[in-house]
C-alpha cells in the first residue's frame, strides 16, 4: 500500500504527462503481482467494489472524533477520504500495512457489518498517505489525472511494447490482469482474445501537403468524404458487441441502439458515428449531447438518433483483413453489409474524380452539411495501427478566421504555470443603446510559439485591469486572429455562438482593437 500511496501522492502533484508516465513506468516495473494489477485497475477505470464506504466511514468517525470537530474539518478539507486520513488516530502497532491484494480480497463480497471492522483494521495499520490511498482505492476513482489511455501507454513503455499491443488485448482482460503481466514479462503466451469484442488500434491519416499531392497517382487513390462526427470502431463477437472511441475507450453504454443493431455479428468495422435526422447529418453539437451519458432514455434516442457510416472492415468472421489492401477490404465491407444488413448503418460512398484539380473543384462545389473534409487513401494500403506515413491523408478545408480582441488570460498548468497562456477573446457587438461592447466568443490555448507566448505573457501583465485568482482581465488592446473549424449556435454562451477548435492563428500586434470583427461576421459563418 505504501508504494501505491507514494504513487498517488506524486501523480497528484505532477502536471506533465511525460512525468506522470515516468512515475507509472517505475511503479509497474518494480511492483509485484497482483498488486500492480489492482493499482492499474484502480487508476485506469476504478475498482467496481460497491462498498458502503461513506456510511461506514461516518460510523467509524463518530466513535473516534467529536462530531463538531469532524464537521469543521470536513468543511475545511473538502474531501471525506482526505479528512478521515488526517483525523484517524495514529496507532503504534507491529502489524505491517496491508498490501493491495489483501485489501481487495478482504473486502470483496463482504457484508456491511463485516466491512466495518475490516476497514478500521486496515486504517489502523496505515499512515496518513496510506489511509488516503486505501480510501481512494475502495472509493472507486482516485482522480489523479490518469486516463485509461495514459495507463496503457505507461504499461507499454514499462515493458517495451507498442501501446497498440496492449490495446488489442485490453478488453479481453479483467483486474488484476495477471495474464497481462505474465505475458509482458515473457512468462506466458499472449492472452486469448477470441470470443471477446476487443479493440483493434485504428489507422489514422496525415494532413496533406501540396508536395504529397504532386507525388500521388490519382488512379491509385480512393477519395471519400470525412464526415463530421466521431471516429469509432464497432467490434462484434456474437453476444459481445462494443463501440470504441478512437483511443479505445468503450463508449457502448452511451449508444445502446448501435450495439443492439450489430448484435450477433462476427466483425470489426471502422466508421464515423453521427446523429442523422431525416437523412440529414446533424451538427456535431447534437452528437455531443449523446457522449458521456451513463443512462440513455428513449427521449434522447429519439431526439438524437445515432447512426454509423462505415469506412473500412478489419475483421470479417474469422478472417483478419488488416493485411489485405484497402480495395479488397472495401469490397468485403460492401458484400458483408449487403448480406447482413445491420440497422442504423450504411457504407460511406467514394467520391469519383479524374485528377486532383477536378477533385478540388468537386469539393469546392459541395455544400452538404456534415462534411469535415476529404480523405485520400492508397487503394493498396494495408490497415496499419497508428499514423503510418504515406498511405492515408486528410484534406481539410482552409480554416475560418476572424479577428478577435483579447479579454481575459489565465495562467496555464505544468510548464506553463508561470505564464498567462489560456486566452479568452471576444468580438464587438452593438448594444441596444448603439454603443459597442466586447462579447466573449471563445478560448484558445495553442497556435503560438514559445517566443510568442513570452510576448503575450508580458503584454497581459502590462495591460491587466483586474485580477480574479489565476485570471486577469486585460484592457481591449490586442487583436488575435483566431482560426477555427466551424461555428454553431449555442444557448450556453452569452454570445450565442460556439467555435469548434479555436486556436491563435496570428497575433495582430499591428491592428487596432477597434478594427476587430463583429459578432455579425461570426454569425454569418454558421454552417
Amino acid at each position: 500500500m505504501q508504494r501505491f500511496a507514494d504513487l498517488l501522492d506524486s501523480l497528484g502533484t505532477t502536471q506533465s504527462r511525460k512525468r506522470k508516465i515516468a512515475l507509472l513506468v517505475a511503479y509497474f516495473r518494480t511492483t509485484g503481482d497482483p498488486d500492480r494489477g489492482w493499482a492499474l485497475a484502480a487508476l485506469a477505470e476504478g475498482l467496481p467494489l460497491r462498498l458502503p464506504l461513506r456510511r461506514t466511514l461516518l460510523e467509524l468517525m463518530a466513535e473516534r472524533i467529536d462530531p463538531v470537530l469532524y464537521k469543521l474539518s470536513r468543511d475545511y478539507v473538502g474531501d471525506t477520504a482526505e479528512t478521515v486520513s488526517l483525523l484517524w488516530p495514529e496507532k503504534s502497532q507491529n502489524a505491517p500495512p496491508p498490501n493491495l491484494d489483501e485489501v481487495v480480497a478482504g473486502v470483496s463480497g463482504v457484508t456491511a457489518a463485516k466491512f466495518r471492522p475490516l476497514l478500521s483494521g486496515y486504517l489502523d495499520r496505515l499512515d496518513v498517505s496510506g489511509r488516503f490511498a486505501l480510501l481512494k482505492l475502495l472509493g472507486g476513482a482516485p482522480r489523479v489525472g490518469v486516463s485509461s489511455r495514459l495507463a496503457k501507454t505507461a504499461i507499454a513503455e514499462a515493458f517495451d511494447r507498442d501501446v497498440a499491443e496492449i490495446e488489442e488485448v485490453w478488453h479481453a482482460l479483467a483486474p488484476p490482469y495477471g495474464n497481462l503481466f505474465t505475458w509482458l514479462v515473457g512468462a506466458a503466451p499472449r492472452p486469448d482474445t477470441t470470443h471477446v469484442a476487443v479493440f483493434r488500434p485504428l489507422m489514422l491519416a496525415h494532413p496533406i501537403e501540396e508536395k504529397d499531392l504532386e507525388a500521388l497517382d490519382p488512379a491509385a487513390i480512393y477519395a471519400e468524404w470525412k464526415w463530421d462526427g466521431i471516429r469509432v470502431q464497432l467490434s462484434a463477437a456474437g453476444d459481445d458487441v462494443r463501440l470504441f472511441s478512437r483511443t479505445g475507450d468503450d463508449i457502448s453504454v452511451a449508444f445502446p441502439e448501435i450495439s443492439a443493431a450489430f448484435h450477433g455479428h462476427q466483425a470489426v468495422v471502422d466508421g464515423e458515428l453521427l446523429v442523422i435526422r431525416k437523412g440529414q447529418i446533424a451538427p456535431f453539437n447534437d452528437l455531443q449531447q449523446r457522449l458521456n451519458r451513463k443512462v440513455v432514455g428513449p427521449k434522447l434516442k429519439r431526439d438524437y438518433p445515432a447512426h454509423v457510416r462505415l469506412y473500412d472492415m478489419l475483421i470479417d468472421g474469422d478472417d483478419d483483413l488488416r493485411n489485405q489492401p484497402l480495395s479488397v477490404r472495401r469490397a468485403r465491407l460492401i458484400a458483408w453489409h449487403v448480406r447482413t444488413a445491420p440497422a442504423l448503418s450504411d457504407v460511406s460512398s467514394l467520391v469519383a474524380f479524374g485528377d486532383f484539380t477536378s477533385l478540388g473543384r468537386i469539393w469546392a462545389g459541395t455544400r452538404d452539411a456534415g462534411i469535415e473534409g476529404l480523405m485520400l487513401k492508397q487503394k493498396s494500403s494495408h490497415y496499419l495501427a497508428g499514423r503510418p506515413k504515406g498511405y492515408w491523408w486528410k484534406w481539410k478545408r482552409a480554416p475560418l478566421t476572424v479577428d478577435c480582441v483579447l479579454m481575459y488570460a489565465q495562467r496555464g498548468s505544468g510548464k506553463r504555470s508561470s505564464f498567462y497562456s489560456d486566452y479568452t477573446f471576444g468580438v464587438w457587438r452593438v448594444t441596444a443603446d448603439r454603443t459597442r461592447e466586447l462579447v466573449p466568443v471563445g478560448k484558445a490555448y495553442s497556435g503560438f510559439t514559445d517566443a510568442e507566448l513570452k510576448d503575450l505573457d508580458r503584454w497581459v501583465r502590462a495591460y491587466t485591469t483586474e485580477r480574479f485568482g489565476p485570471v486577469r482581465a486585460v484592457a481591449p488592446g490586442l487583436v488575435l486572429e483566431v482560426a477555427f473549424d466551424a461555428v454553431h449556435k449555442s444557448a450556453r454562451h452569452k454570445s450565442g455562438v460556439a467555435m469548434r477548435f479555436p486556436r491563435v492563428h496570428r497575433i495582430r500586434w499591428d491592428k487596432p482593437a477597434d478594427e476587430a470583427d463583429t459578432l455579425d461576421t461570426i454569425v454569418a459563418l454558421i454552417a
Binding site: S73, Y76, T83, S413
Partner: protein, 351 residues
Amino acid sequence: MQKKATGQNLAANSPVPTSPEAWLHPSPNGLYCAAGKFHIDPHSPVERAIITHGHSDHARSGHGAVLATPETIEIMKVRYGANAARRFEPQTYGVTTNIGGVLLKLVPAGHILGSAQVVLEWQGQRIVVSGDYKRETDPTCAPFELAHCDVFVTEATFALPVFRHGPADKEARKLIASLGGQPDRTHLLGVYGLGKCQRMIALLRAEGYDAPIYLHGALVALCELYQRMGIELGDLRPASGAKGEPLPGALVLAPPSALADRWSQRFADPVTAFASGWMQVRGRVRQRGVELPLVVSDHADWPDLVDTCLATGASEIWVTHGRDDALVHELGKRGQHARALALVGFEDEDD
C-alpha cells in the same frame, strides 16, 4: 516612564480581585492594556506598542514607542527603516519592567527569531499574550517557554484536528532527495520571507546540504540579518546575481508571490516546492500548483495548541486569530473556559 522592577514576586497566588477584561481587552486597534496604557501588536499606529514578533501583521510601522526583543527591533528596522517607530525600547527575554504598575516580561515563543510571549501581571493577576508560537524545536530561534497564568491569549492559525505536523527535518530530507533525483531541474522553494526562509536553510544545512542556496532579492536582507545575529546559513547567493542563468540542479528560495511571477520563467524546468503548514491539505497544494509540498509550520499544530492551553493552567483562554471555533469547542469540552476575541487585521500566516 518605565522602571526596572526588582524583587517583585511574579507568582500569582493572590485571589482574583477583578475580571481580567477590566485591564486587558480588545480595542479597535487590537489588544489594549488599560492599566498600562499600551497596545499589543496593534494594527494601526498607537502611542505605545508591545510587539510580539516581526511578522507584518503583528509589527507595523508608525508607532510612538515600541517595546520588543532586540531581535524583533532589528527585524523591524530592516523591514521598515530605522525610523519605523519614534522610539525603540529593546527588552531581552526574562527581564521584567514596570509600565504604569503593570509588570511586563518577554519570554520566548519559539515562532521566529526574536518572537516573544508577553507576560503581564497586575494586581495579582497574570495574563500571557503568546503572539504566534510553536512547540517544535527550530534551529533559528529560542524554544518556547511555558508560562503559567490566569488567562492565556493564544493564536489559532492551525486549530483544526487535521493539522498534525510531522518533524520538519524529515521534510528537509525529502527536498534534498528530490534535488538529488532531478539534477536537470531547478528547485524553486516558496517560503515566507521572515522565519520560514531561514529555518528551511538551517534545516537543510543541518542535514548536510552544503551547496550554494540562491535567494530571490526580497529574501536577502533578512537572511543577512539572521547571519549577523549569529545564525549559520552557509553559502547564500543572490539569484539575481546569476542573471538569466537557468541554474539547473540548484535550489532557489523565493517568496510565494514570486513562484508564479515572470521572475521564475528563466529557471530550468523548475520543480515548484512550497514549505508551509498548509501543505498538509491537498486542496491547498493543488490551488498553488505545487509539485513538491513540504509540511513545515512555524505555528503550533492542533495537539500542541490544545496541550499548551491546558498546560498553562489558565482558567480562561482567549483566542485571537485563526480558526477559533474548533479550539474554543475542544477546550470547552475539556473544562477550560475559552472564548474568541475575533481580533481583526491578522492574516492567515505561514503562507
